[in-house]
Symmetry: C2
Subunit: 310 residues, 2 copies
């Protein structure tokens, strides 16, 4: 079934211990869509400038991603410049040039109205909410956010959280949102804010999930789940890992008929797989050349490294 | 089968966000022995001063731990004073009074000579090596160390590493020992130093294991394993968590006939269970009142939270 993702399509200038890249294709919606495209149909709503060329669009369309919702605006695309020289787990932002993204007002194309799964990538919660209101009949809504919205736009964000079936954020964002240093207490506080479930990304330590009983369509109950990460000898570029995780996770969820605890767990493993692929090259390079066979191989590796009986 | 553990039996003065305790029973050998006692027979070799009273000894003997190797010396027992007010994951040491421990020269009682499993807790590597030489016929040797020995006594420590079937340390110690920021590359470098396997403790993120093929008595191969930690809403006192992990892990290993990958994996889960119990009260309080039934219940929780099918 189709996922509609709303978020940034951008260019990133990056420096990591592995090297440097100028203006490579990036953005949360891009990474999410590429990762999810291995599992289900994905439709993107975003905005780009005149620097977004046919070669960039082909990165998405080659994977069957529907780009009819990517609006063209005069000027330049969103550009982010960052480096990971101090710590591979934490970007230092050198520049954020919003450009055409500053006036982004998401419009859902009529052809996208029947999307059953909605993903609200990390953008202004006011826009997230506006998109949600344009899609009253979706079956499921997941979303992301970041420290900036948590700190400075909390009231708006809280309205979004109440709409979500799954909130997908990292452990630092849980701490910021809940005010709790303890991860379990923090997760419980976040669930009290409204999302039916919470997926927390821990970087090299994988991801955890926390549930309210309402999230499952079946009557099954699952309290906690933990997915490992693929151990990697080299992380080339962490940019987009979290969005790729979300894409793998939500892509798998959307490919299944019912959301059971087992589907959720399997989706967490696929999220972890897509995150680990993403970081092995700059930008979207690695996701572009990924194959379903290697995705499933990596999935089996995760099972082997986490299960008592191999 | 019997484990012989050599290490500190001490008193700890602690302050954490949950409170304060003065001179409670602690020490690596104490935590290790209590945790392992739920799985197998444990014998302790250590030294204490005149402040070690019958009530302290009973903490161990009540669990069937053989204390005949705990030597009495004139003076006071090893005393460590630390706090976890800044960060629950990292102790700030306020005082280390070696006292009788300064002249510790481990002597293995004749009755302990037939111990099949040896655990060299975190002490001077020169002493670790001397104990190993007194026990030429042990079936298996595991050990721990810390930043001080890695930094200032590296040559001696390297001799110990070559003797070990399992080295059990934390992720910071792997980084220090290997000089590698990347966990997987670091683990591989540590294995090149001689231990047949490496167990890395990640605190709230559980533990990982890395293997050379030589560690297993069977011909099975296992490359990597990852055990989760029990999520806890409150960590009362982290002191001894790593030693309790090691005790649960090695206690289970010693209780089995052969070291297969599945035994190793199961042992990692039991290690995680014992570490999580330890931190729920000050000192050894929680391990003292633990039951095998709740240990197995927590084991099942770990299985549920990490396995795709519950």
């Amino acid at each position: 079934m189709s996922i509609l993702v709303v978020g940034s399509v951008a260019f990133d200038s990056l420096e990591t211990p592995s090297g440097r890249r100028e203006r490579v294709l990036g953005g949360a919606a891009t990474h999410f869509a590429l990762a999810a495209s291995f599992f289900t149909k994905v439709r993107v709503v975003g905005v780009v400038g005149e620097d977004f060329l046919p070669e960039h669009e082909r990165v998405l369309t080659d994977k069957g991603v529907d780009t009819r919702g990517i609006e063209r605006a005069p000027g330049k695309s969103f550009h982010w410049k960052g480096e990971y020289l101090r710590d591979l787990n934490e970007a230092d932002t050198l520049a954020t040039d919003l450009n055409v993204f500053a006036d982004f007002a998401p419009k859902i194309p009529a052809e996208f109205a029947d999307s059953e799964y909605l993903f609200l990538a990390n953008i202004d919660p006011v826009l997230q909410l506006r998109v949600r209101q344009q899609m009253p009949n979706v079956k499921m809504i997941a979303g992301d956010t970041m420290n900036y919205w948590i700190n400075a736009h909390r009231e708006n964000l809280l309205k979004v959280l109440r709409e979500l079936d799954v909130l997908v954020i990292n452990d630092k964002e849980v701490r910021l949102l809940s005010g709790e240093a303890n991860g379990l207490r923090g997760a419980k506080k976040v669930l009290e804010l409204g999302p039916k479930s919470l997926v927390v990304k821990y970087g090299e330590h994988g991801a955890g999930a926390f549930f309210t009983p309402e999230v499952f369509e079946s009557r099954d109950v699952c309290k906690l789940f933990r997915a490992p990460a693929t151990p990697l000898e080299e992380v080339v570029d962490p940019t987009g890992a979290g969005d790729s995780f979300a894409g793998g996770f939500y892509g798998y969820v959307a490919s299944q008929r019912t959301l059971t605890p087992e589907v959720f767990r399997t989706a967490m493993f696929y999220g972890s797989v897509m995150g680990s692929l993403c970081v092995q090259a700059f930008g979207t390079e690695r996701l572009q050349r990924a194959t379903r066979a290697e995705i499933d191989e990596r999935f089996e590796q995760l099972r082997e490294l986490s299960h008592l009986s191999a």
